[in-house]
Symmetry: C2
Subunit: 204 residues, 2 copies
Protein backbone atom coordinates (compact mmCIF):
# COMPACT_ATOMS: atom_id res chain seq x y z
CA UNK A 1 0.00 0.00 0.00
CA UNK A 2 1.18 3.55 -0.71
CA UNK A 3 2.47 5.49 2.29
CA UNK A 4 1.73 9.21 2.57
CA UNK A 5 4.22 11.00 4.81
CA UNK A 6 2.01 13.82 5.98
CA UNK A 7 0.81 16.32 8.55
CA UNK A 8 -2.91 16.55 9.17
CA UNK A 9 -2.85 20.36 9.46
CA UNK A 10 -1.03 20.80 6.15
CA UNK A 11 -3.02 21.99 3.15
CA UNK A 12 -0.27 20.59 0.93
CA UNK A 13 -0.78 17.16 2.50
CA UNK A 14 -4.55 17.60 2.21
CA UNK A 15 -4.30 18.05 -1.57
CA UNK A 16 -2.94 14.50 -1.86
CA UNK A 17 -5.44 13.05 0.66
CA UNK A 18 -8.31 14.69 -1.23
CA UNK A 19 -7.28 13.34 -4.64
CA UNK A 20 -6.60 9.85 -3.25
CA UNK A 21 -10.10 9.93 -1.74
CA UNK A 22 -11.64 11.01 -5.07
CA UNK A 23 -9.79 8.15 -6.75
CA UNK A 24 -10.73 5.63 -4.03
CA UNK A 25 -7.09 4.65 -3.60
CA UNK A 26 -6.27 3.31 -0.13
CA UNK A 27 -3.10 4.53 1.55
CA UNK A 28 -1.35 4.45 4.90
CA UNK A 29 -0.58 7.78 6.52
CA UNK A 30 2.42 8.63 8.71
CA UNK A 31 2.02 11.81 10.74
CA UNK A 32 4.97 14.20 11.22
CA UNK A 33 5.05 17.10 13.66
CA UNK A 34 6.86 19.76 11.62
CA UNK A 35 7.16 22.10 14.62
CA UNK A 36 9.22 19.41 16.42
CA UNK A 37 11.64 18.96 13.51
CA UNK A 38 10.32 15.50 12.63
CA UNK A 39 10.87 16.17 8.89
CA UNK A 40 14.52 17.09 9.51
CA UNK A 41 15.70 13.77 10.98
CA UNK A 42 18.44 11.83 9.15
CA UNK A 43 15.87 9.11 8.37
CA UNK A 44 13.43 11.53 6.73
CA UNK A 45 16.13 13.54 4.92
CA UNK A 46 17.25 10.27 3.31
CA UNK A 47 13.76 10.10 1.74
CA UNK A 48 13.56 13.83 0.92
CA UNK A 49 16.72 15.98 1.13
CA UNK A 50 14.39 19.02 1.07
CA UNK A 51 12.94 17.94 4.46
CA UNK A 52 9.28 18.58 3.62
CA UNK A 53 6.00 16.73 3.67
CA UNK A 54 3.93 15.59 1.83
CA UNK A 55 5.96 12.74 0.40
CA UNK A 56 4.26 9.82 -1.31
CA UNK A 57 6.08 6.49 -1.16
CA UNK A 58 4.98 3.83 -3.64
CA UNK A 59 4.97 0.10 -2.93
CA UNK A 60 8.11 -0.35 -5.06
CA UNK A 61 9.95 2.17 -2.86
CA UNK A 62 9.95 5.09 -5.32
CA UNK A 63 9.03 8.45 -3.82
CA UNK A 64 7.59 11.73 -5.05
CA UNK A 65 7.61 15.05 -3.22
CA UNK A 66 6.00 18.45 -3.95
CA UNK A 67 2.24 18.20 -3.51
CA UNK A 68 1.41 19.50 -6.98
CA UNK A 69 3.82 17.09 -8.72
CA UNK A 70 2.18 14.25 -6.76
CA UNK A 71 -1.28 15.44 -7.90
CA UNK A 72 -0.07 15.51 -11.51
CA UNK A 73 1.20 11.94 -11.30
CA UNK A 74 -1.84 10.46 -9.52
CA UNK A 75 -4.29 12.21 -11.86
CA UNK A 76 -2.78 10.74 -15.06
CA UNK A 77 -5.49 9.22 -17.24
CA UNK A 78 -8.29 10.27 -14.87
CA UNK A 79 -10.86 13.05 -15.24
CA UNK A 80 -8.91 15.13 -12.70
CA UNK A 81 -6.22 15.91 -15.31
CA UNK A 82 -7.48 17.42 -18.57
CA UNK A 83 -6.50 15.24 -21.53
CA UNK A 84 -5.71 18.19 -23.84
CA UNK A 85 -2.10 19.31 -23.51
CA UNK A 86 -2.92 23.03 -23.55
CA UNK A 87 -5.49 22.53 -20.76
CA UNK A 88 -2.89 20.50 -18.84
CA UNK A 89 -0.51 23.46 -19.14
CA UNK A 90 -3.28 25.79 -17.92
CA UNK A 91 -3.81 23.53 -14.89
CA UNK A 92 -0.06 23.65 -14.21
CA UNK A 93 -0.12 27.45 -14.66
CA UNK A 94 -2.60 27.70 -11.77
CA UNK A 95 -0.59 25.21 -9.72
CA UNK A 96 2.65 27.18 -10.14
CA UNK A 97 0.70 30.34 -9.28
CA UNK A 98 -0.51 28.52 -6.15
CA UNK A 99 3.01 27.67 -4.97
CA UNK A 100 4.45 31.08 -5.86
CA UNK A 101 1.77 33.67 -5.06
CA UNK A 102 -0.87 31.96 -2.91
CA UNK A 103 0.64 29.37 -0.56
CA UNK A 104 3.64 31.45 0.60
CA UNK A 105 1.20 34.13 1.76
CA UNK A 106 -2.09 32.54 2.84
CA UNK A 107 -0.64 29.25 4.13
CA UNK A 108 2.17 31.01 5.96
CA UNK A 109 -0.20 33.54 7.62
CA UNK A 110 -2.44 30.60 8.62
CA UNK A 111 0.56 28.71 10.03
CA UNK A 112 1.64 31.70 12.09
CA UNK A 113 -1.85 32.37 13.47
CA UNK A 114 -3.17 28.84 13.81
CA UNK A 115 -0.12 26.81 14.85
CA UNK A 116 2.20 29.30 16.54
CA UNK A 117 1.70 31.50 19.58
CA UNK A 118 0.15 34.77 18.36
CA UNK A 119 2.62 36.72 20.49
CA UNK A 120 5.45 35.36 18.32
CA UNK A 121 3.96 36.81 15.13
CA UNK A 122 5.23 40.16 13.84
CA UNK A 123 2.34 42.39 12.76
CA UNK A 124 4.17 44.03 9.84
CA UNK A 125 5.14 40.64 8.39
CA UNK A 126 1.56 39.43 8.83
CA UNK A 127 0.17 42.48 7.04
CA UNK A 128 2.50 41.85 4.10
CA UNK A 129 1.28 38.25 3.88
CA UNK A 130 -2.35 39.41 3.96
CA UNK A 131 -1.77 42.01 1.25
CA UNK A 132 -0.09 39.54 -1.10
CA UNK A 133 -2.64 36.86 -0.17
CA UNK A 134 -5.53 39.14 -1.15
CA UNK A 135 -3.74 39.91 -4.44
CA UNK A 136 -3.71 36.14 -5.14
CA UNK A 137 -7.42 35.92 -4.29
CA UNK A 138 -8.10 38.86 -6.65
CA UNK A 139 -6.51 36.89 -9.49
CA UNK A 140 -8.59 33.80 -8.66
CA UNK A 141 -11.79 35.87 -8.44
CA UNK A 142 -11.27 37.20 -11.97
CA UNK A 143 -11.51 33.64 -13.24
CA UNK A 144 -14.05 32.21 -10.77
CA UNK A 145 -16.43 35.16 -11.06
CA UNK A 146 -16.90 34.10 -14.69
CA UNK A 147 -16.30 30.33 -14.73
CA UNK A 148 -17.17 27.30 -12.62
CA UNK A 149 -13.65 25.92 -12.33
CA UNK A 150 -10.09 27.17 -12.84
CA UNK A 151 -9.59 25.33 -16.12
CA UNK A 152 -12.18 24.75 -18.84
CA UNK A 153 -13.54 21.20 -18.82
CA UNK A 154 -14.46 20.82 -15.17
CA UNK A 155 -13.04 20.08 -11.74
CA UNK A 156 -9.30 19.28 -11.92
CA UNK A 157 -6.11 19.09 -9.91
CA UNK A 158 -5.80 22.88 -10.33
CA UNK A 159 -8.95 23.27 -8.22
CA UNK A 160 -7.66 20.77 -5.64
CA UNK A 161 -4.35 22.65 -5.39
CA UNK A 162 -5.98 26.04 -4.83
CA UNK A 163 -8.86 24.79 -2.67
CA UNK A 164 -6.46 23.45 -0.03
CA UNK A 165 -5.50 26.80 1.52
CA UNK A 166 -8.31 28.99 0.12
CA UNK A 167 -11.01 27.12 2.06
CA UNK A 168 -9.15 27.70 5.34
CA UNK A 169 -8.30 31.36 4.65
CA UNK A 170 -10.39 32.26 7.73
CA UNK A 171 -7.72 30.49 9.81
CA UNK A 172 -5.30 33.08 8.40
CA UNK A 173 -7.73 35.80 9.59
CA UNK A 174 -8.62 36.53 5.96
CA UNK A 175 -12.12 37.43 4.79
CA UNK A 176 -13.61 35.80 1.68
CA UNK A 177 -16.68 38.09 1.87
CA UNK A 178 -15.60 40.25 -1.09
CA UNK A 179 -15.04 37.15 -3.27
CA UNK A 180 -18.46 35.76 -4.33
CA UNK A 181 -16.98 33.80 -7.24
CA UNK A 182 -14.50 32.06 -4.96
CA UNK A 183 -17.19 31.31 -2.36
CA UNK A 184 -19.47 29.64 -4.93
CA UNK A 185 -16.48 27.64 -6.21
CA UNK A 186 -15.64 26.47 -2.67
CA UNK A 187 -19.18 25.05 -2.41
CA UNK A 188 -18.84 23.43 -5.83
CA UNK A 189 -15.57 21.73 -4.83
CA UNK A 190 -17.01 20.50 -1.52
CA UNK A 191 -19.85 18.79 -3.42
CA UNK A 192 -17.51 16.62 -5.52
CA UNK A 193 -17.91 12.86 -4.96
CA UNK A 194 -15.33 11.55 -2.49
CA UNK A 195 -14.73 14.95 -0.89
CA UNK A 196 -13.06 14.76 2.54
CA UNK A 197 -12.32 17.41 5.14
CA UNK A 198 -8.80 18.66 5.81
CA UNK A 199 -9.04 17.27 9.37
CA UNK A 200 -10.12 13.82 8.18
CA UNK A 201 -7.54 11.11 8.79
CA UNK A 202 -8.00 8.69 5.88
CA UNK A 203 -11.33 7.55 4.47
CA UNK A 204 -14.63 8.17 6.18
CA UNK B 1 4.57 34.16 -34.93
CA UNK B 2 4.51 33.59 -31.17
CA UNK B 3 5.06 36.66 -29.02
CA UNK B 4 7.05 36.37 -25.80
CA UNK B 5 6.23 39.15 -23.34
CA UNK B 6 9.51 39.26 -21.50
CA UNK B 7 12.27 41.04 -19.67
CA UNK B 8 15.83 40.37 -20.75
CA UNK B 9 17.15 40.33 -17.18
CA UNK B 10 14.57 37.81 -16.01
CA UNK B 11 15.67 34.23 -15.45
CA UNK B 12 12.03 33.18 -15.74
CA UNK B 13 11.87 34.76 -19.19
CA UNK B 14 15.23 33.20 -20.07
CA UNK B 15 13.86 29.71 -19.42
CA UNK B 16 11.38 30.19 -22.27
CA UNK B 17 13.93 31.85 -24.59
CA UNK B 18 16.37 28.97 -23.96
CA UNK B 19 13.84 26.23 -24.75
CA UNK B 20 12.56 28.06 -27.84
CA UNK B 21 16.17 28.30 -29.04
CA UNK B 22 16.74 24.56 -28.42
CA UNK B 23 13.59 23.85 -30.41
CA UNK B 24 14.51 26.28 -33.20
CA UNK B 25 11.13 28.00 -32.90
CA UNK B 26 11.15 31.65 -33.99
CA UNK B 27 9.37 34.19 -31.81
CA UNK B 28 8.95 37.91 -31.41
CA UNK B 29 9.96 39.42 -28.09
CA UNK B 30 8.36 42.40 -26.35
CA UNK B 31 10.46 43.91 -23.56
CA UNK B 32 8.84 45.15 -20.33
CA UNK B 33 10.59 47.20 -17.67
CA UNK B 34 9.18 45.68 -14.47
CA UNK B 35 10.73 48.39 -12.30
CA UNK B 36 8.65 51.00 -14.18
CA UNK B 37 5.37 49.13 -13.67
CA UNK B 38 5.07 48.15 -17.33
CA UNK B 39 3.52 44.78 -16.37
CA UNK B 40 0.84 46.51 -14.27
CA UNK B 41 -0.80 48.55 -17.03
CA UNK B 42 -4.48 47.91 -17.85
CA UNK B 43 -3.40 46.56 -21.23
CA UNK B 44 -1.02 43.98 -19.76
CA UNK B 45 -3.34 43.04 -16.87
CA UNK B 46 -5.97 42.18 -19.50
CA UNK B 47 -3.50 39.56 -20.78
CA UNK B 48 -2.35 38.39 -17.33
CA UNK B 49 -4.33 39.48 -14.23
CA UNK B 50 -1.29 38.36 -12.19
CA UNK B 51 0.78 41.13 -13.82
CA UNK B 52 3.91 39.09 -14.44
CA UNK B 53 6.19 38.18 -17.30
CA UNK B 54 7.00 35.86 -19.02
CA UNK B 55 3.78 35.45 -20.95
CA UNK B 56 3.67 33.52 -24.21
CA UNK B 57 1.04 34.55 -26.72
CA UNK B 58 0.27 32.09 -29.50
CA UNK B 59 -0.74 33.05 -33.04
CA UNK B 60 -4.38 32.14 -32.28
CA UNK B 61 -4.40 34.61 -29.37
CA UNK B 62 -4.27 32.06 -26.54
CA UNK B 63 -1.82 32.88 -23.76
CA UNK B 64 0.13 30.96 -21.14
CA UNK B 65 1.85 32.41 -18.09
CA UNK B 66 4.13 30.89 -15.42
CA UNK B 67 7.51 30.07 -16.96
CA UNK B 68 7.48 26.42 -15.89
CA UNK B 69 3.96 25.80 -17.26
CA UNK B 70 5.11 27.33 -20.56
CA UNK B 71 8.15 25.00 -20.59
CA UNK B 72 5.88 22.01 -19.97
CA UNK B 73 3.65 22.94 -22.90
CA UNK B 74 6.42 23.72 -25.39
CA UNK B 75 8.36 20.55 -24.51
CA UNK B 76 5.43 18.19 -25.26
CA UNK B 77 6.57 15.35 -27.53
CA UNK B 78 10.18 16.54 -27.61
CA UNK B 79 13.24 15.10 -25.87
CA UNK B 80 13.10 17.97 -23.35
CA UNK B 81 10.11 16.35 -21.58
CA UNK B 82 10.60 12.74 -20.48
CA UNK B 83 7.98 10.47 -22.05
CA UNK B 84 7.51 8.31 -18.95
CA UNK B 85 4.81 9.75 -16.65
CA UNK B 86 6.78 9.12 -13.46
CA UNK B 87 9.82 10.91 -14.91
CA UNK B 88 7.50 13.76 -15.99
CA UNK B 89 6.32 14.03 -12.39
CA UNK B 90 9.94 14.04 -11.20
CA UNK B 91 10.68 16.90 -13.61
CA UNK B 92 7.67 18.81 -12.23
CA UNK B 93 8.84 18.03 -8.68
CA UNK B 94 12.10 19.86 -9.41
CA UNK B 95 10.21 22.69 -11.13
CA UNK B 96 7.88 23.22 -8.15
CA UNK B 97 10.94 23.10 -5.90
CA UNK B 98 12.46 25.79 -8.12
CA UNK B 99 9.50 28.13 -7.76
CA UNK B 100 9.08 27.50 -4.02
CA UNK B 101 12.57 27.12 -2.55
CA UNK B 102 15.06 28.39 -5.14
CA UNK B 103 13.67 31.33 -7.14
CA UNK B 104 12.12 33.25 -4.19
CA UNK B 105 15.57 33.30 -2.56
CA UNK B 106 18.29 33.34 -5.23
CA UNK B 107 16.36 35.32 -7.86
CA UNK B 108 15.10 37.84 -5.31
CA UNK B 109 18.59 38.37 -3.82
CA UNK B 110 19.92 38.83 -7.38
CA UNK B 111 17.15 41.30 -8.18
CA UNK B 112 17.91 43.34 -5.08
CA UNK B 113 21.66 43.41 -5.70
CA UNK B 114 21.76 43.58 -9.47
CA UNK B 115 18.77 45.76 -10.38
CA UNK B 116 18.12 47.92 -7.31
CA UNK B 117 20.33 50.40 -5.53
CA UNK B 118 22.37 48.46 -2.94
CA UNK B 119 21.57 51.14 -0.35
CA UNK B 120 17.90 50.14 -0.56
CA UNK B 121 18.60 46.53 0.41
CA UNK B 122 18.17 45.46 4.03
CA UNK B 123 21.09 43.30 5.16
CA UNK B 124 19.04 41.03 7.44
CA UNK B 125 16.58 40.28 4.66
CA UNK B 126 19.44 39.61 2.26
CA UNK B 127 21.06 37.20 4.72
CA UNK B 128 17.82 35.25 5.05
CA UNK B 129 17.60 34.95 1.25
CA UNK B 130 21.21 33.72 1.09
CA UNK B 131 20.65 31.15 3.84
CA UNK B 132 17.55 29.71 2.17
CA UNK B 133 19.19 29.96 -1.25
CA UNK B 134 22.15 27.89 -0.07
CA UNK B 135 19.71 25.33 1.38
CA UNK B 136 18.19 24.99 -2.10
CA UNK B 137 21.66 24.58 -3.63
CA UNK B 138 22.43 21.89 -1.02
CA UNK B 139 19.39 19.91 -2.22
CA UNK B 140 20.47 20.26 -5.86
CA UNK B 141 24.05 19.22 -5.03
CA UNK B 142 22.82 15.97 -3.46
CA UNK B 143 21.41 15.02 -6.85
CA UNK B 144 24.01 16.59 -9.14
CA UNK B 145 26.98 15.28 -7.19
CA UNK B 146 25.80 11.80 -8.21
CA UNK B 147 23.98 12.28 -11.54
CA UNK B 148 24.48 14.22 -14.77
CA UNK B 149 20.99 15.79 -14.85
CA UNK B 150 18.14 16.41 -12.44
CA UNK B 151 15.95 13.65 -13.87
CA UNK B 152 17.09 10.28 -15.22
CA UNK B 153 17.13 10.12 -19.01
CA UNK B 154 19.04 13.30 -19.82
CA UNK B 155 18.72 17.06 -20.15
CA UNK B 156 15.11 18.20 -19.60
CA UNK B 157 12.93 21.18 -18.76
CA UNK B 158 13.79 20.56 -15.09
CA UNK B 159 17.41 21.46 -15.88
CA UNK B 160 16.33 24.52 -17.88
CA UNK B 161 14.15 25.71 -14.97
CA UNK B 162 16.90 25.39 -12.39
CA UNK B 163 19.74 26.56 -14.63
CA UNK B 164 18.10 29.96 -15.15
CA UNK B 165 18.91 31.45 -11.74
CA UNK B 166 21.63 29.01 -10.61
CA UNK B 167 24.04 30.07 -13.35
CA UNK B 168 23.74 33.73 -12.29
CA UNK B 169 23.97 33.04 -8.54
CA UNK B 170 27.16 35.16 -8.53
CA UNK B 171 24.95 38.17 -9.34
CA UNK B 172 23.20 37.44 -6.03
CA UNK B 173 26.65 37.50 -4.36
CA UNK B 174 26.42 33.74 -3.84
CA UNK B 175 29.40 31.39 -4.16
CA UNK B 176 29.10 28.12 -6.09
CA UNK B 177 32.63 27.07 -5.02
CA UNK B 178 31.38 24.48 -2.51
CA UNK B 179 29.12 22.87 -5.14
CA UNK B 180 31.27 20.85 -7.58
CA UNK B 181 28.31 18.79 -8.80
CA UNK B 182 26.35 21.91 -9.66
CA UNK B 183 29.36 23.50 -11.39
CA UNK B 184 29.92 20.45 -13.63
CA UNK B 185 26.18 20.43 -14.43
CA UNK B 186 26.26 24.14 -15.39
CA UNK B 187 28.98 23.32 -17.95
CA UNK B 188 26.96 20.36 -19.23
CA UNK B 189 23.87 22.56 -19.73
CA UNK B 190 25.86 25.28 -21.51
CA UNK B 191 27.13 22.67 -24.01
CA UNK B 192 23.62 21.69 -25.18
CA UNK B 193 22.89 22.38 -28.86
CA UNK B 194 21.05 25.69 -29.29
CA UNK B 195 22.21 27.10 -25.95
CA UNK B 196 21.86 30.89 -25.69
CA UNK B 197 23.00 33.36 -23.06
CA UNK B 198 20.55 35.06 -20.69
CA UNK B 199 21.53 38.41 -22.21
CA UNK B 200 20.91 37.25 -25.78
CA UNK B 201 17.96 38.90 -27.48
CA UNK B 202 16.56 36.25 -29.81
CA UNK B 203 18.62 33.89 -31.94
CA UNK B 204 22.31 34.30 -32.55
Amino acid sequence: MMILHDNLGSGNGYKVRLLLSHLGQPFKRIEYDVTKGETRTAEFLALNPDGRIPLLQFTDGRVLTQSNAILFFLAQKTSYLPSDSFAQAQALQWMFFEQYSHEPNIAVARYWLYFLDRAEVQQTQLEEKWQKGYQALDVMEQRLGAADYLVDGGYSIADIALYAYTHVADEADMDLGPYPGIRRWLDRVAEQPGHVLITQDGFS
